[in-house]
């Protein structure tokens, strides 16, 4: 306790030098917390949006389906029968059928995915309820990104060409009945949603689907003829992207932390050099060398405690403000094909806060300890005389 009291007195006594070190360290602390909070917030939002709009709580794929290979679609479809049909009736899964097609908005040629979705499904947030047949026309639903790139509006007709199950071309005009807005670009860009039964009829794939999206209650139930893909697999791309972002941000905040720690290191070296007489006195009064080392180490690491307090003083109101208004993202941010909302609300988990505090305190203690090792080599008599050692 004595060491803490002494350390605190010494630090406060050092005046501006201490507060400069503390300020830089507190800035590094706040930046680390903010950056991690922002990435965690994005991660939570992105994962929940992707699950709500695209992946559900897992999917059952046709064994030949490969989401990265559009050519696999030609063969990756099967009739939804038995257990799968039963679960579909119970609204526990919803079948999706996909086929490659070409759309011709304003005479331009655009490769698209035609996706058949049940208008009555409730598992995904896609507003499939608006896929109501009108005067024998095929109703279609597109996302706002697709609408922007094709200049299509609600009520427009667009010609679509596709091939049926035998490879024979067919083409018809479809009617855009709704344009939806989603944070998940992978369900929007170059995609057109039509009623499942219409697509099955158009392609000659009666009662067939490419994959089945599960709701939360299924829990990996096996369905014969379909391969279950869990959320970990389906969100792999997103998780990898967040990990990459975290890796990149780690470099930035470690650099910032290094600058703050270097300042503490310098202060410690200077303290030991200038306070040799004080060190000699402590030892002469009966303190062991290790106790003096502890005293100086605690003094150095106290910088981090003060930095945490200072950082909290301006960081907490700042972060509360950011949480209230969110961080606006530029419109082009989702062009990389990753789910991102218009505003990111940072999320500060207890684990992240504790680990950041530990990182700052432990690293400050380590850099404070190294210069103090010289004390163990000091002769108390020379130290008392103030001889440079």
């Amino acid at each position: 306790m004595l060491a803490f009291k002494l350390a605190f007195k010494n630090l406060v006594g050092a005046g501006l030098r201490t507060w400069l070190n503390v300020s830089v360290l507190s800035f590094a602390f706040v930046v680390i917390v903010f950056y991690n909070g922002m990435l965690d917030g994005w991660n939570r939002q992105g994962r929940s949006d992707t699950k709500a709009w695209e992946t559900g709580n897992g999917q059952y794929w046709h064994p030949l389906y490969d989401r990265y290979d559009p050519f696999s679609l030609q063969d990756a479809h099967a009739v939804v029968t038995g257990e799968a049909a039963k679960l579909t009736k119970e609204n526990q899964i919803t079948p999706i059928l996909i086929t490659q097609a070409t759309a011709y908005p304003q005479g331009r040629m655009l490769n698209v995915m035609l996706k058949g979705i049940d208008p009555n499904q409730k598992i995904l947030m896609i507003p499939s309820g608006s896929l109501k047949a009108q005067n024998g026309e095929i109703p279609a639903l597109i996302g706002k990104r697709m609408a922007e790139s094709t200049h299509l509006q609600k009520g427009d007709h667009v010609l679509v060409r596709w091939r049926d199950v035998n490879g024979t071309f067919d083409a018809r005009e479809i009617l855009i009945t709704e344009i939806f807005s989603s944070n998940v670009p992978t369900i929007d860009v170059s995609q057109i949603y039509v009623p499942l039964s219409s697509l099955q009829e158009m392609t000659g794939m009666k009662d067939e689907a490419t994959f089945l999206v599960a709701n939360g209650t299924l829990n990996n139930t096996e369905i014969k003829g379909w391969t279950f893909k869990d959320s970990k697999f389906l969100l792999k791309d997103f998780d990898e992207m967040i990990d990459t972002k975290k890796g990149g941000s780690r470099i930035i905040y470690l650099l910032l932390l290094s600058i703050a720690l270097l300042a503490i290191f310098d202060t410690q070296v200077l303290s030991i050099f200038r306070r040799q007489k004080e060190i000699g006195t402590y030892i002469a009064l009966g303190m062991t060398r290790s106790r003096v080392i502890r005293l100086f180490t605690v003094e150095g690491s106290m910088h981090s405690i003060l930095a945490l307090i200072l950082g909290s003083l301006y960081g907490i109101p700042l972060m509360l403000l950011i949480n209230k208004y969110g961080i606006p993202m530029p419109k082009s941010a989702d062009q990389a094909g990753i789910a991102i909302s218009e505003k990111i609300i940072p999320f500060y988990s207890l684990g992240m806060l504790v680990s950041t505090v530990l990182l700052v305190v432990i690293s400050a203690t380590i850099v404070s300890y190294f210069p103090t090792r010289r004390i163990s080599k000091m002769k108390p008599t020379d130290a008392l005389k103030g001889k440079i050692q």
Partner: protein, 251 residues
């Protein structure tokens, strides 16, 4: 308004005429297609051609030399532009390989890849590869006679009789004297016109009439289609067998 009444006698005559004429037309259609096949096919041919792809903003021209034997053997080498020079294609009994000099590799185009466009043109590899006879794929009937430009033509309506055809129905305009197709239209199941092919500049080569310019047009997209011009063509030549081998691709 009084309803129009068709006299019974007239109606019976019309039905009888239809019943008699329909088989005649059906028979004619088959004969016509066979005559076209005979006219258009040869033992082999060596041809130099240019393919101009008219895009929305610009056009580009590729020139090539092709050796072909029957319907199922063909070897093409692109001569220009510089970016495509040396690219070679070998079609051998339903299989297709492409050699690209930039990568120095031979790749086989198969399965769904066959549905991609050939060098960015309005033609797909599948269009190029389909060597089945029209009579094997379609039921044909003559629907009318029509003047196309200054030529008299039979208009044939072809409707698919097998499942695995790209186009459900086609209309073909065939010259009544020379028995060569002058225009072809491909339709979707919904009767939407998808592609139109015009065959022009008919010349007499080695005693047979042959169209030397073909314009392929995807009717759903903008642009003026792809123009295929044969600058020289020789029929029934001696073509060494090694031409139609994978080894020839890298030579």
């Amino acid at each position: 308004m009084e309803p129009t009444i068709i006299p019974m006698k007239k109606l019976i005559i019309s039905i009888i005429l239809c019943l008699f004429l329909f088989p005649v037309f059906a028979q004619d259609a088959k004969n016509i297609l066979e005559k076209v096949d005979r006219n258009m096919s040869s033992k082999n041919r060596i041809m130099e051609s240019s393919m101009t792809i008219h895009g929305k903003r610009s056009s580009r021209t590729l020139t090539s030399k092709t050796w072909s034997e029957g319907m199922d053997k063909s070897f093409s080498e692109y001569l220009s532009p510089a970016a495509d020079k040396g690219t070679k294609m070998l079609k051998l009994e339903g299989q297709l390989w492409i050699y690209s000099p930039t990568t120095d590799r031979i790749i086989q185009i198969s399965g769904h890849m066959l549905r991609q466009s050939v060098m960015g043109s309005d033609l797909s590899y599948e269009d190029m590869m389909d060597d089945r006879k029209l009579t094997d794929l379609y039921n044909a009937k003559v629907i009318k006679e029509e003047k196309l430009g200054d030529r008299n033509t039979y208009v044939l309506q072809l409707t698919a009789k097998v499942d695995n055809v790209a186009y459900f129905s086609q209309k073909v305009w065939i010259d009544t004297e020379r028995y060569i197709p002058l225009q072809q239209e491909m339709y979707a199941k919904s009767n939407q016109l998808l592609k139109r092919t015009e065959l022009k500049d008919v010349k007499q080569i080695q005693g047979r009439w042959f169209p030397t310019t073909i314009v392929y047009k995807d009717m759903l997209k903008q642009g003026n289609g792809t123009e295929f011009k044969m600058t020289s063509i020789l029929f029934d030549q001696k073509i060494p067998e090694y031409i139609f081998s994978k080894a020839a691709l890298k030579q």
